[in-house]
Symmetry: C2
Amino acid sequence: MTLQDKMHNYAELIVKFGVNVQKGQDLVVSSSIETAELVREVVKQAYNVGAKHVHVYWNDEETRLIELLNAPEEALQDVQQWIPDSLAKLADEKAAFLFLNSTSPFLYEDVSAERMTLYRQSRAISNQEFQEKYMARQWCIIAAPSPKWAAVVFPDMPVDQAVDKLWERIFYAVRLEQENPVDAWKEHLQTLRDKVEFLNKKHYRRLHYTGPGTDLTVDLPKKHLWASADKVTEEGVYCCVNMPTEEVFTTPSKFGVSGKVRNTKPLNYGGNIIDGFTLTLKEGRIVDYSADQGEELLKGLIDTDEGAHYLGEIALVPHRSPISDLNVLFYNTLFDENASCHIAIGRGLPMCIEGGFDMTPEEMEANEANISMTHVDFMIGSAELSIDGELEDGTLEPLFRNGNWAH
Amino acid sequence: MTLQDKMHNYAELIVKFGVNVQKGQDLVVSSSIETAELVREVVKQAYNVGAKHVHVYWNDEETRLIELLNAPEEALQDVQQWIPDSLAKLADEKAAFLFLNSTSPFLYEDVSAERMTLYRQSRAISNQEFQEKYMARQWCIIAAPSPKWAAVVFPDMPVDQAVDKLWERIFYAVRLEQENPVDAWKEHLQTLRDKVEFLNKKHYRRLHYTGPGTDLTVDLPKKHLWASADKVTEEGVYCCVNMPTEEVFTTPSKFGVSGKVRNTKPLNYGGNIIDGFTLTLKEGRIVDYSADQGEELLKGLIDTDEGAHYLGEIALVPHRSPISDLNVLFYNTLFDENASCHIAIGRGLPMCIEGGFDMTPEEMEANEANISMTHVDFMIGSAELSIDGELEDGTLEPLFRNGNWAH
């Protein structure tokens, strides 16, 4: 099978299973110009299944880098609000959303943390409404290699070969190598749903994390729900919001997180790397932090708003998974977070609070969930991680041992 | 000098001379994703000269082809009006506009004329306000090779070589090979302005065209003005709206065109070729037409609106010019029209009527200029073309002989 054939199959899986485009529905695709080949396949497939209109929003990280390095400060904060507004309007009209991720890990390393933070904060504010809206619809985040990303993952080969190799790894991670990828996905998601059901039944009131550099207790909200990356929209349409996905996740109780937590894989924060960092939390709030790399960017992230001083997600992922079996550090959260337990700084997740989708931000907070403009996952899993679940009556049960499910 | 160096020089010429970006001004760049390398150079240069914010709007012809072939009919007419509206708003805020042209000549040949016409008509309506607004600002159309365009121009070589060769031809046509390109441009535009002055002094009341298949008289409006592609905006900023440019042009009297005219080079109508066509005009109106190739598309063009049945521009270009010396058929109007006398179907030009920029459409019509949503140039020049100018007193003077200026 040629790369072109495989890309065709990938596009088919994305359109029919991941975002699950319906007849007569609009699809919005957001992509780097470097991944146009896959976009074109996706657009073709979407029209094949009866999409009404496919809208493609192109961006170029290299152009953004030039802007970040050279534009006057006021321009970095100058957001063209009509773009997220128009996307939000498409969400109101029940479009589906597909995001192609190909961010190069070190692309923005020459941009000062101050300028990155200015730029990110204005975008976080500008995109807030759109984000809330698309998350209620069908949406899906998938990955496609850019040359610069591939060159970071496979630095020892010519870039063309690195791109091909990264394609192969991505195809493996999204189960395209299996005879019937859709069946494989259904089976896989059933396994994750079994875990979700198990955890919802247990209704742990608290998790205890221990590992090198990590000693953390995380209270769970009274109304917490565990979830996996597949969902059904209010129109009754199934979709899978991340491909690959290996996680089950919930939202922590905003003021109920205490202790220290240390990351285990570098965080590609949209083109900058933050690594070797420890957060200290007290009554949910990050009261101290340090990082070997990207500390200023970490500061910028935490200073996004008051809510970015709290956590919004905890996710359980076995240390052994198809992605971690590849033994590749992807420098890309979509992959690395699905090879590792992770937690997120920022916004709590409405699907993880009973009735959350119908709650105002104030109601979410009243139900222990955090509110923030941002939501950034980082990896804390390793072969040394143990997690205990604490039942309502205080009993402790082993949940993770040596980085994997204890049962 | 490497291709990269030359692209850098091209970007510099475009930013500093063509569109002439001012300190603190926004620049809007519209480009295919295939010409990203040049765009990135342009963005860099624009920030270097002090641009406030450079906005890049990417498009992809291949994706558009998929849409044209596969989207339901209603989607072809479904315009995202917020895009031209937002661009119009940037024009209101005095942004400058740069359009990169790389259209592949035969890209849309498998799309039915009906669907192309549906698509084009809805875009023509949707873009009308934006077009009027950007034309009052600094703007510039330039070219950059796409692989498919290069492959049509140089079909006998591998596509990479064809792209490089087309770059070389473009660099030659925009005078980048000269020691000081800006000085060369200034001298060249002075020559064109001398022609403009000569023609404005003559104030011909009518032109007589004769050539193979062509026998046409064109009345000129009482308030007609000849112009060249450089201009000064109302803020007093100089720019050159086409690079290359070899033409001087004016607007014909809407109801004063009669006879037959035949094209001499294929017209790349935004990704479709129309060729071997003759128009018959009576009192300005196209009353008959035929084409060896693309007759249905020609019909669609003429049926855009009532104004598309009339002419909007006549341009004089010597058959001998740096572009025609290259002896390359570019299949791209920006080049082919600057190697050939041409005329345009559609909208008349405000800069070619005294006080035209301050006129309402009704006032333009009262001053003999045509009104239409469209404006499409096509080539009628050749070594066999002669043009006579008729003075106010009826005297005929030779203006063009054997395709070149008669004096």
